[in-house]
Symmetry: D2
Subunit: 295 residues, 4 copies
């Protein structure tokens, strides 16, 4: 047995705070949560997170970061550990990727978001990242969701492509139950029979999450559609459905990307999207409809 | 053999107009289609169709029609022939329902939309209705889609709950190939594993249909969600995704409805929805974004 | 209005025979149904229905019929009216196809099964066919299901690719409620995200239908998988799950078929399949397990 | 940063052994794999794995183990770390559960299978378990699949409820690429719209996996159906489709189980199932059809 790590004892069953009818995640349990990341308040107005699927090189991440900053992004995203379907695909730069992402964040002044895929990585990912992302494939990773619940970093929790709304909320409940209340939900498409889009972006889950929980809800139209031409209309639709912001893949030169090359926006496309989205948010706030039209 | 009806000979294979690469339904085949129904131009601005799931009585349809007219609906809907899952559920008033719907249309000045479920009914449904609806369950009804293609009435074609975008467009192609170019598409939700909503409203199919075809595209947020609380946000989201309008169930007293009682809006809820939707459409048109953000 | 056809009045709501808790389709309502087609008893032992997707020519249907007869098929199938996704695909030979199918049935002594897609065709389809098939795309065709309920011919009711078990049974209930008790159910695959197979053959629906209803249940492994290499194992699995027989596409030369060319079996492959299936049925009957293992 | 654990460097991209066209997992790469666990050869004949969902107490696991041993099980299963949808549900006994499972294995002579949910647990799980199970929710757990690839223990890899056949095989490829060739696949149902069964057991994936890979393939009819009455027919169907064995939940008193109480078999039901399955396997082997009927 490994000498420096103790066997895990049984995980004690957490007692629900006020019975199952009022879970921590429920809207009735808490006023609207605003997650603060540096100067950004996720849950107020509109938060736009942008950046490449993967950190690939110093030039790639620095140029892309500068471009999304100029276009008005609030946070920078980039993957260092990439869960890929095939073991023979690019798996990310690892620690080197984290350092480059941190550098790009420092140079642009943008807080950074990156995915964590292994609980053993948490210590040093927390050193470099401002927000910990749990990806759709890892939403059901039980040890990971518990561990991020013990961190003092905000968590961006993507909905699994096969998860019901209820399972998604219960996954957030795990994080909250461990003591970390800074959870941001993100809808990114579910798996259906439709083949024109990569997934089916489920915006009714956004509207439903808004009525069920006090946590902020974002939309990822990139993975949700897999088609650049659909990202702008689905971003606007996401905002109209009540989302608190977007997570969008942007690459300085999408055709050269090492992963998801066919779905990233160019910086110019992203700048137009950000302007259109900001304008819609302003309009909706004027309408007193910042809450997406819910009564 | 029935003396007055001739056996159908084989259906000759229609020759694709310009090869399979340019079908009648494709965006490249035709300028944007505007379907005219009375004074209403479906495909320009925003068309709102409202009314009860079923015509139930004279008082019910007349009151509801007056209410949706007052709230700004463009067309009146109401079912006379109801395809129901169980044979023991209310199946609609039939011919009597058509007459009441026609009367309500006349009194309010609203053109009327009603579902046709059997090709044998077409002759008299055409006498009473301004728009023929093919419901989601009948999208795959091949004889029905061909017969409406031979009518001189606009057709509202709902997407089947299990149909891909491509199959939906090919269904419209059948109608167009028979000579009827006045087809309005309507997304109403697909069947997935999610159980919080009755179906999963697929707004990316709306945005995708907008880029693939010249036909107008509506959204039905009532069947798409099955929850009154989600109808307003999903209506706004549908407009933002590029829809040319909405199809919404409204009942003077939803709790008394003989079908779909738990998902219809009250007249007051509908009035708020119509106002909010009209305002969003005005905003988007000012933005030069009436096309929902597509380039 | 067409002079020779009267408008349909409202369809009266059928009163459930003994309350909703004991529908005609329920297992508790009736002893196990055996549907007799000529000398064949569907619901006893194992019924194998085989033949081409479409009747294409006299030589094609006669040769294929002779081959499946020699290999031990009980019934001959062949489509004369083909519901196709695209209007530019082969739509079937119509009345000529029905006559050729009848001729092939007469020459081989096999009763024939063919799909009906339009209630207006029923009169003459009933003249030529021994069993009326309602296809998966038409399971939700409400006028068709009611009309076949008024015929004196057995009905083969395929499960819709998007239908729950409950909806499938309620569709059969429509036929039974109209007075036709000779309904044979047939599972043919549902639509899921899996792309290796054309559909996902749902054999648990076969086992579940066996415990819920007294009607016979068949399996269609051809459409269920779309891959010839999977038809034999899935046929054996279907029998083991409790199916009363199979519906298999066979073509004298599959590569020349005008529809579904890539999934039909050759006569030689079918002969092997029929022998293997018959042997398994004998084994299971010896085991006293003709009911597929249910207690 | 934690002093005793080094940051992970980037994961080097593994070079595919002979190009992407011949992956390690492909049937053409290797003769049929037989995984040896003690005296049991998984991939030859039929391997039956049985036991409770969770290890709950000494009496529960010892009694259940003795019962499944007497009924002819080859391996004993039992969960010590339970990934549960809600944090307020029973999470397993942890290390204590592993010890009890080991004890039950020793007393009955049955090798034991248990789920591992966290790569940090592997060291001591390997001390107690003979086979490491990766559950459906963790199929996409990338760090876990790589770590078990470095263990010298056989791995039972369940198909994710949302995974395509291709993704499942690529998950196995990760394990093989790390050097562990002892992988056993297990189909356990996918998520669809059907609500009568808990999942839809996809037996065509079993037949398809048999033709695509040299690895053994099992079926889990318990999670696949969620209904005890369907477990026997679906077990027989799985064997007929070509499965090399079963994974079945058995509890000495199902109604008292702390998890999945409504789907476990009693020892008596399991004894009947094992006898019926063994008899079918013998029959199929006599038929020269041990390969499930594939040509």
């Amino acid at each position: 047995m490994s000498p420096e790590v103790e066997p895990r004892e049984s995980t004690p069953v957490v007692t629900p705070p006020r019975g199952r009818t009022a879970r921590l995640v429920d809207r009735s349990s808490h006023p609207a949560t605003v997650v603060r990341v540096g100067d950004v308040a996720v849950g107020e107005g509109c938060c736009i997170i942008a950046g490449p699927c993967s950190v690939e090189s110093e030039a790639q991440i620095l140029e892309t970061a500068a471009a999304v900053k100029a276009a008005g992004a609030d946070l920078l995203r980039g993957g260092a550990f990439k869960p890929r379907t095939s073991p023979y695909d690019f798996q990310g730069l690892g620690l080197e990727g984290l350092k480059l992402l941190r550098q790009a964040g420092r140079e642009t002044g943008l807080p950074v978001v990156t995915e964590v895929v292994d609980p053993r990585d948490l210590t040093w990912v927390c050193e470099y990242a401002d927000v910990l992302q749990i990806g759709a494939r890892n939403m059901q990773n039980f040890s990971l969701r518990k561990e991020v619940g013990r961190c003092r970093k905000p968590v961006l929790l993507k909905r699994g492509m096969h998860s019901t709304l209820e399972e998604w909320l219960l996954c957030a409940e795990y994080v909250l139950a461990e003591g970390n209340g800074d959870v941001i939900l993100c809808e990114r498409g579910i798996r259906t029979f439709e083949r024109y889009t990569r997934n089916t972006l489920d915006l009714s889950a956004v509207a439903a999450a808004r009525e069920r929980t006090h946590l902020p809800v974002l939309v990822d139209p990139t993975h949700g559609t897999g088609r650049p031409s659909l990202i702008l209309p689905m971003s606007l639709a996401g905002i109209a459905a009540g989302a608190h912001g977007l997570l969008v893949e942007v690459h300085r030169r999408p055709e050269e990307a090492l992963s998801d090359a066919d779905q990233a926006l160019t910086p110019a496309q992203f700048a137009e999207l950000a302007a259109r989205v900001r304008a819609l948010v302003s309009y909706m706030e004027e309408q007193g409809s910042a809450e997406g039209g819910r009564p």
